[in-house]
C-alpha cells in the first residue's frame, strides 16, 4: 500500500532549495572573480522551468522527444540554465562582473532560500501533526 503523502508543492520547494544553493555558488564565483581579467559573469535561471514543471501556465506543453527540454510535469528534472550574463559592464580588462548587482542577487537568493526552507518546514510539521493523530486520541 503506497500512500501519497508529499504533494507537488513540497517537491517544488525542495527542488528550489537545490537550485538556489547552486545559484549561490555561481554568485560567489562572480564576487570572488570581480577583478579577474577576462572573467565573464555568469547567471543561473530556473524559475521558468519550474513554472512549467508545476504547470502554472495557461497551456500544458507536451514533450514529444525525451531529449527535449523539460516541458512540464517533472519537477525532479528541472535543472536550471547557467549562462554568461548580458549586461552593460565593459571594463578594459574584459571583466563583466557588476559587483552591486551581484550583491543584490546574493541577498535575494538568500532570502528566497530561507523562505523555501521555512515553508518546507511548515508543511512537514503539518504532516507530522496529522500523522500523530491530530493531538487527539
Amino acid at each position: 500500500m503506497s500512500i501519497k503523502v508529499f504533494d507537488h508543492t513540497l517537491d517544488a520547494l525542495s527542488k528550489s532549495l537545490d537550485l538556489r544553493s547552486q545559484k549561490q555558488t555561481i554568485i560567489s564565483s562572480n564576487i570572488a572573480n570581480a577583478e579577474t581579467p577576462g572573467y565573464q559573469a555568469k547567471t543561473m535561471d530556473f524559475e521558468g522551468e519550474l513554472a512549467n514543471a508545476l504547470e502554472l501556465g495557461d497551456t500544458v506543453l507536451e514533450r514529444t522527444n525525451e531529449q527535449h527540454m523539460n516541458a512540464g510535469g517533472k519537477i525532479d528534472e528541472v535543472k536550471g540554465e547557467i549562462y554568461n550574463q548580458i549586461n552593460n559592464v565593459v571594463r578594459e580588462d574584459g571583466n563583466t562582473v557588476d559587483r552591486d548587482a551581484e550583491m543584490v542577487s546574493l541577498a535575494e537568493n538568500q532570502i528566497m532560500y530561507s523562505a523555501a526552507a521555512d515553508l518546507l518546514k511548515k508543511k512537514l510539521a503539518l504532516l507530522k501533526y496529522a500523522i500523530s493523530d491530530g493531538g487527539g486520541h
Binding site: D7, H8, T9, A12, L13, K15, S16, E47, G48, L50, A51, L54, L56, I111, M112, A115, A116, D118, L119, K122, K123, A125, L126, Y129, A130, G134, G135, G136, H137
Partner: protein, 112 residues
C-alpha cells in the same frame, strides 16, 4: 458513527453549550439545541465546514507557494500567511473531529 446520532446529541443542551466555545467565522452553534435554518448547527455540519475550510486553505497555500517558487510572484508574506492559515484551519479541523468523537463516546457510554 452516523450523523443522525450526532443530530440527536446536539439537542442535549449540555454538550451543545460546551462546544459552543468554538467560535469561527462561518459556523454558529445552536445554544438550546434548536436547529437554526440554513446555518450549521449540528456537529456534522461543523465537521463538514471545518473540513472544507482546511481543504480550501491548503489548496490556496499550495498555489501561492507554487507561484513564489516559480518566480511568478514576490509576495513573500502572502505565502507565509497563507501557510499559517492552512495550518490553523487544519488544526481546527483536528480539534473539531476530536470533540465530535468525544461527544460520540460520551453518548455511547450512556445507559438508556
Amino acid at each position: 458513527m452516523t450523523f443522525n446520532t450526532i443530530d440527536s446529541i446536539s439537542r442535549l443542551g449540555n454538550l451543545g453549550d460546551g462546544i459552543g466555545k468554538i467560535n469561527t467565522q462561518q459556523m454558529e452553534i445552536a445554544e438550546s439545541g434548536e436547529s437554526a435554518s440554513g446555518k450549521a448547527s449540528t456537529f456534522g455540519d461543523l465537521l463538514k465546514g471545518a473540513l472544507q475550510d482546511a481543504n480550501q486553505s491548503q489548496l490556496e497555500a499550495n498555489n501561492v507557494v507554487n507561484e513564489l517558487v516559480a518566480g511568478r510572484t514576490k509576495d513573500l508574506h502572502g505565502a507565509m500567511i497563507a501557510m499559517e492559515k492552512a495550518d490553523v484551519n487544519f488544526r481546527l479541523l483536528a480539534q473539531v473531529r476530536n470533540k465530535v468523537i468525544d461527544a460520540y463516546r460520551e453518548i455511547m457510554r450512556m445507559q438508556v
